[in-house]
C-alpha cells in the first residue's frame, strides 16, 4: 500500500525491517523505531515478529500432529490421520532412502524441519500488506505511529531463523561425527583426505570448507529463495493504487507469482529436509 507520503524505497525498507526489541543506550529496552535504531541495538536484540511467527507456527504444527498422535488408530484412519500419515510416510520414505545408519532422532527431526519450514514459507502467500497493515493500525490504537511499527510475517526471510536452524543441524552433524567416529576419527577425516598425510594443510582447507559450507548453503539457500520471493511480492504490491491498468496487471502478476511460489515453498522445505538427512548420514559414515 504505497501511500502518498511514502516513497517506493521507504515502502520496501519498511517491509524489510523487523520488529526489533533491544536496548538502546539512551532509551533502555524498546522496540526500534527504524532500521538505524535496530542496527544500533547490536547482537542483544530480538526480532519479535520472526520469533513469534516461527514459534507460533511450530507450535501449530506440533499441536496438530500431537492431536492426531493422541487418537491414532491402527484400524481405519480418519481424514486428519490420513493426511498426517501421508506426510509421515513421505518423510519416512525420504529418511529411509538417504539415511543408512540407525538413529531414532533423524526421522522426527526431518519431519519437524519439513513441516515447520513449509508452514513458515507458507506465510509468504498471505498478501504482503495485510498483516503488517493490520498490525500497524492495531498498534496505532495504542498511540504508536503505524509507519514505525514493523512486522515481517515470513520468518524464513529472516537470516536469523534460517541460520539458527542450519546451525542447529550443523551442531548435530559435529556431535554425531565425533560420537560415531571419535575425536581422532573426525580429525582424521578432516586432515587425511583426499591427499594423504603429507598434504595435511591442503586437506584441512578442503575438508574444512566442505564442512563449513554445509550450514551456510543450507541456510542461505532457504533464506535467498524466500527473501527473493518476498521481494517480488513487495515489488508487485508497489504497482497497486496508481491506475486501473497497473492494478489489474499487478493482480495478475501477484496471482501468477503466488501460484509459482507454492512450488518454491514446498521445494525449499523439502530441500532443507533432504540436505539435513544427507548431512547427518555423512556424519554417521565411518568409511570416508
Amino acid at each position: 500500500m504505497a501511500t502518498a507520503e511514502l516513497t517506493a524505497s521507504d515502502y520496501i525498507q519498511h517491509h524489510l525491517t523487523n520488529l526489533t526489541l533491544g536496548w538502546l543506550p539512551d532509551q533502555g529496552l524498546v522496540f526500534a523505531h527504524d532500521a538505524e535504531e535496530a542496527a544500533a541495538m547490536g547482537f542483544w536484540a530480538l526480532h519479535v515478529d520472526s520469533l513469534l511467527w516461527s514459534i507460533g507456527l511450530g507450535v501449530l504444527f506440533l499441536i496438530g500432529f500431537r492431536k492426531v498422535a493422541e487418537n491414532v488408530t491402527a484400524g481405519v484412519p480418519g481424514k486428519a490421520q490420513n493426511f498426517i500419515e501421508w506426510v509421515i510416510d513421505f518423510v519416512n520414505e525420504n529418511v529411509r532412502g538417504s539415511f543408512s545408519a540407525k538413529n531414532d532422532m533423524v526421522a522426527p527431526l526431518a519431519l519437524t524441519i519439513f513441516a515447520w519450514v513449509f508452514l513458515m514459507n507458507l506465510m509468504d502467500l498471505v498478501p504482503v500488506d495485510l498483516i503488517p497493515w493490520a498490525f500497524g493500525q492495531f498498534m496505532g490504537l495504542f498511540g504508536a505511529d503505524p509507519h514505525h511499527v514493523y512486522m515481517r510475517v515470513v520468518p524464513t526471510t529472516d537470516p536469523n531463523i534460517t541460520f539458527g536452524m542450519a546451525l542447529a543441524v550443523f551442531f548435530l552433524v559435529l556431535y554425531y561425527s565425533i560420537k560415531v567416529k571419535g575425536v581422532g576419527g573426525f580429525v582424521g577425516e578432516l586432515t587425511l583426505h583426499p591427499f594423504g598425510k603429507f598434504g595435511l594443510p591442503a586437506n584441512l582447507i578442503l575438508e574444512g570448507i566442505s564442512l563449513l559450507s554445509k550450514p551456510l548453503s543450507l541456510s542461505l539457500r532457504l533464506f535467498g529463495n524466500m527473501y527473493a520471493g518476498e521481494m517480488i511480492f513487495i515489488l508487485v504490491a508497489l504497482m497497486y493504487g496508481h491506475n486501473l491498468v497497473l492494478d489489474l496487471g499487478g493482480g495478475a502478476l501477484q496471482l501468477a507469482w503466488a501460484i509459482f511460489h507454492i512450488l518454491i515453498i514446498t521445494l525449499q522445505a523439502f530441500i532443507f529436509m533432504v540436505l539435513t538427512i544427507v548431512y547427518l548420514d555423512m556424519a554417521h559414515q565411518t568409511d570416508h
Binding site: 524489510l16 523487523n18 526489533t20 533491544g22 535496530a38 542496527a39 541495538m41 547490536g42 547482537f43 542483544w44 536484540a45 530480538l46 526480532h47 520472526s50 520469533l51 516461527s54 514459534i55 511450530g58 504444527f61 506440533l62 500432529f65 500431537r66 492426531v68 498422535a69 493422541e70 491414532v72 488408530t73 491402527a74 484400524g75 498426517i84 500419515e85 509421515i88 510416510d89 519416512n92 531414532d104 532422532m105 526421522a107 522426527p108 527431526l109 519431519l111 519437524t112 515447520w116 529472516d158 537470516p159 536469523n160 531463523i161 541460520f163 539458527g164 536452524m165 546451525l167 542447529a168
Partner: protein
C-alpha cells in the same frame, strides 16, 4: 538484516520442537502404522491359509467320495456274488428236491405196480379156478388143490 539473539532463540525453539516431535508425535504414529502393516500382513496370511485349507478340504472331500464309490462298488459286487451263491444253492436244493420227489414217485409207482401185479395174479388164480371148474364141470375142492393153485398162481 542484523544477526542477533533471534538466532539463538530460534535454535532453542528448534531443539525443543524436535525433542517434542521425537517424544510425542513420531513414535505413536509410527507405532500405529507398523501395527496396521502387521495387521494387513496377518490378514493376507490368514486369507492365504484359508484358501489352502479350502483346497485341502476339497481334496479330502474328493478322496472321501472316491472311497465311498469304491465301497459302494464293493458292496454291489459282493451282493452280486451272494446272489449268485444263493441262486446256485436254491438251484441245487430244488434239483435235490426234484430228485427226491422223483425217486419217491418211482418207488410208489413200483409199489403200485407190484400191488396191481399181485392183485392181478390173485384175480387170475381165481379166474383160473373158475375156468377149471367150468372145464371140469365139477366143483373142485379148493382146499384139496390149494397147493396146485398156489404154484400156478406163482407162475403167473
Amino acid at each position: 538484516m542484523n544477526i542477533n539473539l533471534t538466532l539463538i532463540s530460534q535454535m532453542i525453539a528448534f531443539a525443543v520442537f524436535v525433542a517434542f516431535c521425537m517424544k510425542y508425535v513420531w513414535p505413536p504414529i509410527m507405532k500405529a502404522l507398523d501395527e496396521r502393516a502387521t495387521k494387513i500382513a496377518e490378514g493376507l496370511a490368514a486369507a492365504e491359509r484359508g484358501q489352502q485349507e479350502q483346497e485341502i478340504g476339497r481334496q479330502k472331500a474328493l478322496e472321501e467320495m472316491k472311497a465311498a464309490k469304491t465301497k459302494a462298488a464293493d458292496i454291489v459286487a459282493q451282493a452280486q456274488k451272494r446272489y449268485n451263491e444263493v441262486m446256485d444253492e436254491a438251484k441245487r436244493d430244488a434239483q435235490g428236491e426234484a430228485e427226491r420227489i422223483r425217486t419217491a414217485a418211482h418207488a410208489e409207482i413200483e409199489q403200485e405196480t407190484n400191488r396191481a401185479r399181485e392183485e392181478l395174479r390173485e384175480r387170475m388164480a381165481t379166474l383160473a379156478v373158475a375156468a377149471a371148474e367150468k372145464v371140469l364141470e365139477k366143483e373142485v375142492d379148493a382146499s384139496a388143490h390149494k397147493a396146485l393153485l398156489d404154484s400156478f398162481a406163482k407162475q403167473l
